[in-house]
């Protein structure tokens, strides 16, 4: 039997009530929940759904909460509903004011009324995200749209609206940005300096900003665009807007562009704008020929590592130099003859993409991946490796119903042990991403899996090379030195960058 609760003359907007109902329905022991104004039409709707509303005494201006489930759970849910509603209620608002406390604003407009802002970070379920972003743009705000599952047509519309108003929409699915020195979402704490970045790739931006910081330089802004920005339909609107903003910024002396290769027409538009920037622009279109994106003020970079190195050199007035040969701390393990393959288990999509390109270049044999890069073969089953395999564990197939592997290491830990049981595996290649948003202590999280994998291999008379890179800085909450020392202590061979880690892995299996 459903239980009803009527709150007389209580008014909440539809999104608040939908969120309330959804929250209540997810509580343990609750099978059904609704919250709506008790209008005759809404009561009819409940009746049509088979709910007996005969005893309900409520009118159109009353808020009706309906709960079905186990009796104890229903009582608890009702108490929760009252608490949630009173948290938002006017009386408490006044009480909070009297106590000198500040309440979180309930809308972008409310937030704007209370504080000056130039950017709204939007992280709501995809179905609501475009509408929220549009509100922000209409209020004159730049937008970082962390949400994914936004329709491509909505992305185009949002970016055109923003463009017409001289604003930028970063995203959707923009996971990384550093604006005005503030790391947003998955981003690292890096020094301020003369280099500005625009990137369609989150971990790509993280890698380059971290390497710039490690080289002693720093950044002005790191602007994310979202992964679809350089598609033909979107036209690179965010990258163009970011590029123009950095070109006009007197503090930015060098600009870095990071993306997978765009559609040719879009690439020409981006490069045309870059040529007009009036300052050096390092272009890293992962997988593109560097000669095709070089000339004049444009400097093509083959890898993310090269891009960081070139940007720092140019900012210091030097010519971009060659990347050094890979070096890693620790001694290389002795491999059995049947140990021939590299298995890369990545939490960063761009790291996996770059690794696949570099492993193909190393010509160590066929490379399998779920990132659909160049000559790489698609994995028949992403849950099982074959030959040399590089897996992006942030792919939708792995993250359905669970957090991203930068936050939750469980899936990768299981896969590390699974790979170690395969006698043909020589190298397990890993990325460890630090910074805001990532796991607070990845080394500790990986310890048991690395130990179990090593023991498993040793029992079979084998040693496995664990090769990796830590993408982070000293200033990150997890601290680069502490994490690196812990991972090295577990026997991991650490390279300075993803590119160097991949080349080291290739050298190990080529011995």
């Amino acid at each position: 039997m459903p239980k009803f609760h009527v709150l007389r003359k209580t008014y909440r907007d539809s999104v608040t009530l939908m969120q309330l109902a959804s929250k209540l329905a997810r509580l343990p022991g609750i099978s059904n929940a609704s919250a709506s104004m008790a209008t005759p039409a809404n009561l009819d709707l409940l009746r049509e759904a088979g709910t007996d509303v005969g005893g309900v005494q409520a009118g159109p201006n009353d808020l009706l909460i309906m709960l079905e489930g186990e009796p104890a759970a229903v009582d608890a849910a009702l108490a929760e509903a009252q608490k949630l509603l009173s948290d938002r209620g006017e009386s408490e608002e006044l009480g909070e004011r009297a106590a000198g406390q500040k309440r979180a604003p309930r809308s972008i407009a409310m937030a704007l009324a209370e504080a000056r802002a130039g950017l709204a970070l939007i992280s709501v379920p995809g179905e609501y995200a475009a509408a929220e972003a549009l509100k922000a743009v209409n209020l004159g705000l730049n937008v970082m749209l962390f949400s994914d599952n936004v329709a491509l047509a909505d992305e185009v519309m949002l970016k055109r609206q923003a463009d017409a108003r001289g604003l930028i929409v970063m995203g959707p699915d923009c996971g990384t940005a550093i604006i005005g020195g503030v790391p947003l979402a998955f981003a690292n704490k890096v020094r301020a300096g003369p280099i500005g970045l625009v990137g369609a790739s989150g971990t790509g931006l993280q890698q380059v900003t971290v390497l710039i910081d490690r080289a002693g330089s720093g950044i002005t802004q790191a602007i994310g665009t979202g992964g679809r920005d350089l598609k033909q339909e979107v036209g690179g609107l965010s990258m163009l807007a970011g590029l123009r903003a950095l070109a006009a910024d007197p503090d930015t002396r060098v600009i870095v562009l990071i993306s997978k290769p765009p559609a040719p027409e879009i690439a020409q538009r981006i490069l045309g704008e870059a040529r007009r920037a009036g300052k050096p622009v390092v272009v890293n279109f992962l997988g593109a020929q560097t000669a095709a994106v070089s000339g004049g003020n444009l400097h093509g970079a083959h890898t993310l590592d090269d891009a960081a190195r070139a940007a720092v050199a140019l900012a210091e007035g030097r010519a971009p130099g060659q990347a050094p040969l890979p070096a890693a701390a620790g001694s290389l393990p002795k491999l059995a003859p049947e140990q021939r393959y590299v298995r890369g288990l990545y939490s960063g999509g761009t790291f996996c993409y770059e690794a696949t390109l570099l492993l193909l270049e190393a010509e160590i044999g066929e490379v399998h991946s779920n990132t659909h890069v160049g000559r790489a073969r698609d994995l028949a089953d992403p849950w099982r490796s074959e030959g040399h395999t590089l897996v992006d564990l942030g792919d939708d197939v792995f993250t359905r119903g669970r957090p991203h592997p930068m936050i939750d290491h469980r899936l990768r830990n299981e896969r590390i042990v699974q790979e170690a049981a395969d006698p043909s595996v020589a190298v397990i290649l890993l990325d460890v991403v630090l910074g805001y948003g990532s796991h607070p202590d990845p080394a500790a999280e990986m310890r048991a899996a690395l130990s179990q994998a090593r023991d498993l291999a040793r029992k079979a008379g084998r040693e496995i090379a664990f090769v990796g890179q830590v993408c982070g800085t000293e200033a990150d909450p997890q601290n680069l030195n502490r994490q690196s020392a812990a991972l090295a202590g577990m026997g991991m061979l650490l390279a300075n960058s993803n590119a160097q880690a991949v080349r080291l892995a290739a050298r190990i299996v080529q011995r």
Binding site: K9, Y11, R12, D13, S14, V15, T16, L17, M18, A21, S34, A35, S36, M37, T39, P40, A41, N42, D44, L45, A49, P60, N61, E90, S91, E93, L94, R97, P105, R106, S107, A109, M110, A113, E114, E127, A130, A131, L134, K135, V137, N138, L139, A151, A153, D154, M157, R160, Q161, A164
Partner: protein, 288 residues
Amino acid sequence: MRPAGEALESWHAASLGARVRRGGRGQVHSVFARAVNLAGEHGGLTALLAADAPRVAHGMRLHERHGNLSRRFSPGASFRWEGEDLCIDTPYGGDVRVSTYGAVLWRAPVGLVANDAHRLARAVQCVENLRLARSVPDVAALHPGCAAARLRLIALAEAYRHGDARAIAHAVHGLVGLGPGLTPAGDDALIGWLAGIALLGADRRCEVLRQALRARLGRTTDVSRAHLEDALAGEFSEPLAQFANALARTPAEAQRALADLAALGATSGLDAAAGLLAAVEAAMGSHA
């Protein structure tokens, strides 16, 4: 604490909607960040709107920002008109006095395009473009009430196309008050529908719809009722009127106006847009 009746603060209204009636007294009905609804002793709501809130016909908009209005006023507090000044009791003692002296009388009429073939063609083309671009998202997935409202809107369109008076009244009956929030999705869609009628011109079917709606105003919330009464009087909120008028200009203007309308309420703007587009399509798709 100051005694009631003494002015705590003096504010100024910048504009007065066409349906605001000054005079009398009553109680604060409900309070929100950007709006305070005032219920007159003889019925009807007047909205006091923040300076950045969209204007409505039954609302008076403030000249300057005064922060979150829900922190200033509480439901049940008394208000009264003293000449051109609106005085509202506050929980801190004393009144907030809002002067309407010099406020601009405001209305946003929707221009009829039915007699202008070029503008009519542009409006129809704009509606088609917006539909093709799926600019008005389907909010039906959000809540059973929204889903039901969308289905009943389709039923209304079907009834309108065929000029079926009974089916029109039935669809209106199902839409009024349908949806979870303060201004239920069904009401928003009907308001949009009336804006569509204002754009294209009324006919017999329209009168059937109006009569059905008037007879069912008691089936929805007081706040939504005030908006429906505005719409029945041919008065619409600023972003809705601008969107309706922009349809007869250029697709770019329509798209911009739609973006402004989408910012209205949680889903109200988009529900109204859905109603307006459905009305135009239904009216153009029939010869009743």
